[in-house]
């Protein structure tokens, strides 16, 4: 199952209902006049752009925005984003007249992407119009040109059929928008160089990084002061990507960041889960200039407030130790000293992605296994095996404490309760009973 789309849970559809009653007219939130630049005459179904350059640029904007992640490779939609309130289905954005967006004009398209106003009413922020609002007029025009070249797909979708009352009231999103939707275009910072500005544009606009990497408040809005500092996604955790040298990317070189986004891995880290999908569908297609811009911008962000932990004191002796569990279960791939295996398996030594206070990712892959990103540059996509059948919650916590606190690493203890919680949430199997257990309970 695709993991990435679950991230929309973080956008808290429930918030809508809370604020719907407190609806106030907040002009900037609903001002769509800057999209007057778009044509409002020609329907998408009625034209096909002949501007090859614009089409090619538009395809690239589509890659930057990772549209395929939810709308599928043929843009016919259908992918269900699961939320605590029910599933939201990605719409058909192919030029089909009846089931797609063939009836939309360019202006309608701008309204949807940049202002969250769809043909059926307000969009849910599962669609990141909150970030796409930064898209420039030119990128929007190019994307429109590209969309005109897509084959229509006949696939009627009721996006919110699974949402019960009152979550299915689209108008309620107006309230959410008032609180959290910053309806402003991209503005360059003249005091920063072009590369920084380009990086900021991609990160905050089409790349919509903050959607996952910024933690959310209880209403699903981004928390103040925690920009890109790491965000929980229920069954995954999007790590700190600020310049924090301990938990973020501060000690990672620009080159290593570029390599990671281009290939899915660098000398230490391998993407898996939602980020693997983002790399496979989106960032591997970025130009090197854009990847460098993204990396430079991230490295120039203010560091998060996440702190470095001193290593825990570990018990390295005996049959119950994390050290033995590591040697028996992990080292064949991750190395006898956490060094990993070049080009195929991540290292643990010096791997900041391991050290977040929130160990959800590590628990997740211990229970369910994982798979490294596969890209043109790195097609392997090696698998992390699942251990749910072999280890109980305590054993998983122990071995994770070991890898998070060895070879110079330091991190907060992994709670057994969090392992149990995820085991239940992910419907991972229980550790197998063996005759040895029974012999000891006789």
């Amino acid at each position: 199952m695709s993991n990435r789309k679950r991230t929309a849970i973080a956008l808290g559809v429930g918030a809508a209902v809370v604020v719907a009653g407190a609806f106030v007219w907040a002009w900037p939130t609903f001002d769509i006049s800057r999209s007057d630049v778009a044509d409002d005459e020609t329907r998408l179904a009625d034209f096909t752009s002949q501007d090859e350059d614009a089409i090619a640029r538009g395809e690239y904007v589509m890659r930057l925005g990772d549209c395929m992640a939810c709308h599928e490779e043929n843009f016919g939609g259908g992918y269900t984003v699961s939320t605590p309130f029910g599933g939201i289905v990605a719409s058909n954005i192919s030029p089909d007249i009846d089931s797609g967006i063939g009836n939309m004009t360019e202006r309608d398209f701008f309204n949807a992407l940049r202002h969250g106003r769809g043909s059926k009413g307000l969009l849910y922020p599962a669609m990141p119009y909150t970030e796409y609002t930064k898209l420039t007029d030119r990128d929007m025009h190019d994307l429109w040109a590209y969309m005109s070249t897509i084959e229509p797909v006949d696939n009627a979708i009721d996006e919110i059929a699974d949402l019960g009352f009152p979550y299915n009231i689209r108008l309620a999103m107006a309230g959410w928008n008032v609180l959290f939707f910053d309806n402003e275009g991209f503005d360059e910072h003249p005091d920063q160089d072009e590369q920084w500005n380009r990086g900021r544009y991609i990160v905050n606009g089409p790349g919509h990084c903050a959607t996952c990497h910024t933690s959310r408040n209880f209403l699903g809005g981004p928390k103040d002061g925690e920009y890109l500092s790491g965000g929980g996604l229920d069954i995954w955790f999007a790590p700190d990507i600020t310049s924090n040298p301990h938990t973020g990317i501060g000690s990672t070189s620009t080159q290593e960041l570029v390599e990671y986004l281009k290939t899915g891995a660098n000398s230490t880290s391998f993407a898996t889960g939602p980020m693997a999908e983002a790399i496979e569908h989106s960032t591997q297609y970025f130009t090197d200039d854009d990847l460098e811009a993204v990396a430079s911008y991230l490295k120039a962000t203010a560091p998060s407030s996440n702190v470095r932990h001193e290593p825990m004191t570990l018990n390295n002796e005996g049959p119950k130790s994390g050290a033995l569990a590591y040697e028996v279960n992990c080292s064949a791939c991750h190395g006898v000293a956490g060094e990993g295996m070049a080009n195929i398996v991540p290292a643990f030594e010096g791997n900041n992605a391991l050290l977040a206070d929130d160990p959800t990712n590590l628990i997740h892959v211990m229970l369910m296994g994982g798979r490294a990103a596969h890209t043109q540059a790195r097609p392997t996509g090696a698998g992390m095996p699942s251990f749910a059948w072999k280890m109980n919650d305590e054993e998983i916590a122990t071995v994770l404490d070991h890898v998070r606190n060895s070879w110079g690493n330091g991190a907060a203890p992994v709670s057994v309760e969090r392992v149990a919680e995820l085991r239940s949430q992910l419907a991972a199997r229980d550790k197998l009973a063996t005759p040895q257990d029974e012999a000891h309970t006789d």
Binding site: N329, S331, A332, C333, M341, A342, N343, I344, V345, G369, R371, H374, A377, R378, P379, T380, G381, A382, G383, M384, P385, F387, K390
Partner: protein
């Protein structure tokens, strides 16, 4: 009536090493390829991770990765006048059960054959005279391809598989540390040789003292991480000792899974039908070509897969059986030596010595499937056979492969009780003090060593089982006895306190005792359509769009494991298909 699938450019029957290597070449060239495998999908982390593998009972004793005799077996007899009997339990057939075939559970010895092995007939006549090549029993024939012609494809296979080793001959220059008898290589192995473990140390010291040249066996258990030409990355061997009959958990043993599938499976012009068992190739009305294959799907239904090109890349027993069932070419007749399908069965002629020491600490559990030292001084034609009563020879090797406690319980010095307290005492000591010298000998085809369809026994689909008629050639018996004596000399030099020589060829051949699992031939290649079923490009002489690839094509077996040569032949054939055949379909050589 059979269901019919959409036509493919190429259908590949069996997605093991041969099928995967060919599918990779052919899809990269733009052809639409459908593979059909009788097994289910299996992969590293989801099927054989490190936490599942180290389980001797499951994988070595119960052989759960192997195709069970219930589904795939054959009947066997030594002589034409006997009624063949089915092999009912696991025997010498160690076929793969899932996708990846035997390439998923193999040990990993990754040899090139010696140049001599491809031209046994010609070179024997040249060096020793025709009477040695035609002794009335042997049926020798050249392959129609030489080592030099195959070298680039050996090289390609080794790069894809990341083989670990030390070259002994680069472009004719003999290199220290390698096998001085090997054919000239164009370059060094992709990754360095594996570590030298205790049993190898003892062997190396002893054989050097005796004037031999020991070297580390080239291994598909990789000494260090490797990225192959397809961009696929592999890991480094951790010496866990669970390779032969096991999947590899850390991507360090070369297999279709570890080396090819990550690239192949993501190509839009490739798919694999799993749990479909091909029962025949369908002939076209023109009599010159085939139209595709018919298989039985998971639900027991017959399905037709049409294709412009058919590649049989199953294990040799299945390639041969499908050819016989499809009535593509004339079956071999052992009485007249006419006919081509089923001829030139050969095996591996095994002798050697078990050795026990008194105060060694072998730590046998540290190992790798292909890890060992070998001398080639008595292999192939590396030594003068003028005064000997045989041709061919054996690689004499010692293993640092594994220390499996159930199996090792049988490896105690002669006269030791096999049970009771004395057994326990002996086993507690000799578990750390046992070693083997294994002579992996060549095997020459005979006039009466062949495969046909059994008249009495059928498989679960009602298709006749393959019937093997075979016994060791006197030539090979003599070779095995000679090399056994050499092994005993080495064991003595190594300082073993107890030595028990063994020679499988001293008894009649049997499928029940697992001397080796290297079964060879049945659809032999060659330059003469009267004595070969496929031409030197492994193209059927009788249907030019049918290629039969694998050890089924070897006209004789060498004193080495076959996989490297299987891989090289598969790549060479795939290249010939997309570089030559597709442009101008027809026979690639004149008959």
């Amino acid at each position: 009536m059979a269901s019919k699938r959409p036509k493919a450019d190429v259908v590949i029957v069996g997605l093991g090493w041969s099928g995967a290597l060919m599918a990779e070449e052919l899809t990269r060239a733009g052809l639409n390829v459908v593979a059909i495998d009788r097994g289910a999908w299996q992969d590293t982390s989801t099927h054989t991770p490190p936490a599942v593998n180290p389980d001797e009972l499951r994988w070595s004793s119960r052989k759960e990765l192997l195709s069970p005799p219930k589904d795939n077996t054959m009947t066997f007899r030594n002589r034409l006048d006997q009624v063949a009997v089915p092999q009912r339990d696991y025997g010498i057939l160690e076929l793969g059960k899932g996708v990846g075939g035997a390439g998923f559970h193999w040990a990993g010895m990754a040899w090139r054959f010696n140049p001599w092995d491809f031209e046994v007939r010609t070179r024997t006549i040249e060096r020793y005279g025709i009477e040695r090549a035609e002794d009335g029993e042997l049926q020798l024939q050249d392959w129609g391809v030489t080592y030099d012609e195959l070298e680039p494809f050996y090289d390609r296979f080794e790069r894809i598989a990341g083989i670990s080793g030390t070259a002994g001959n680069i472009n004719g220059e003999i290199k220290p540390g390698g096998n001085p008898y090997e054919g000239p290589r164009t370059r060094e192995y992709p990754t360095p040789e594996l570590k030298t473990l205790r049993m190898m140390e003892i062997f190396n010291d002893a054989t050097r003292k005796m004037g031999h040249t020991p070297f580390t066996i080239p291994a598909a258990n990789l000494s260090e991480p490797w990225v192959n030409p397809l961009g696929v990355a592999m890991g480094a061997c951790s010496y866990c000792g669970f390779c032969l009959a096991y999947g590899c958990g850390n991507y360090s043993k070369s297999s279709p899974q570890a080396c090819i599938f990550p690239a192949l499976m993501r190509r839009p012009n490739f798919s694999v039908i799993t749990e479909g068992c091909v029962i025949r190739v369908n002939k076209a009305e023109d009599g010159q070509t085939v139209t595709g294959v018919t298989y039985i799907d998971k639900g027991g239904r017959e399905v037709e897969q049409p294709a412009d090109i058919v590649c049989l890349t199953a294990f040799m027993v299945d390639n041969t059986r499908i050819m016989l069932n499809s009535e593509i070419s004339e079956p071999y007749n052992p009485n007249t030596q006419e006919g081509v399908v089923g001829r030139n069965f050969s095996f591996q002629t095994i002798s050697g010595a078990h050795m026990w020491f008194e105060d060694e600490q072998i730590n046998p559990f540290v190992g790798a499937g292909a890890l060992g030292s070998q001398i080639d001084d008595y292999n192939g034609d590396n030594f003068d056979h003028s005064d000997l009563d045989f041709i061919g020879g054996a690689g004499i090797l010692t293993l640092s492969r594994d220390g499996l406690p159930i199996a090792r319980a049988e490896s105690l010095p002669e006269g030791t009780p096999r049970w009771g307290s004395d057994f326990k005492k002996a086993y507690a000591k000799y578990y750390q003090n046992y070693g083997i010298l294994f002579n992996q000998g060549s095997s020459m085809p005979t006039r009466t060593g062949y495969l046909d369809l059994d008249p009495n026994y059928k498989d679960k689909f009602g298709v006749p089982l393959l019937r093997l008629t075979y016994d060791y050639a006197q030539n090979d018996r003599n070779m095995a006895a000679y090399t056994m004596d050499r092994a005993v000399e080495i064991a003595e030099q190594m300082g073993a306190s107890h030595i028990t020589p063994f020679n499988f060829a001293a008894e009649p051949f049997t499928t029940a005792k697992i001397a080796s699992d290297h079964v060879i031939g049945g659809v032999p290649m060659g330059a003469d359509p009267a004595t070969s079923a496929v031409n030197p490009w492994l193209q059927s002489w009788d249907a030019h769009n049918l290629f039969v690839v694998g050890a089924s094509a070897f006209p004789n077996n060498a004193g080495y494991n076959p996989t490297g040569t299987v891989g090289a032949l598969a790549i060479r054939t795939a290249r010939a298909i997309h570089e030559r055949y597709v442009q101008n379909p027809g026979p690639l050589v004149e008959s």
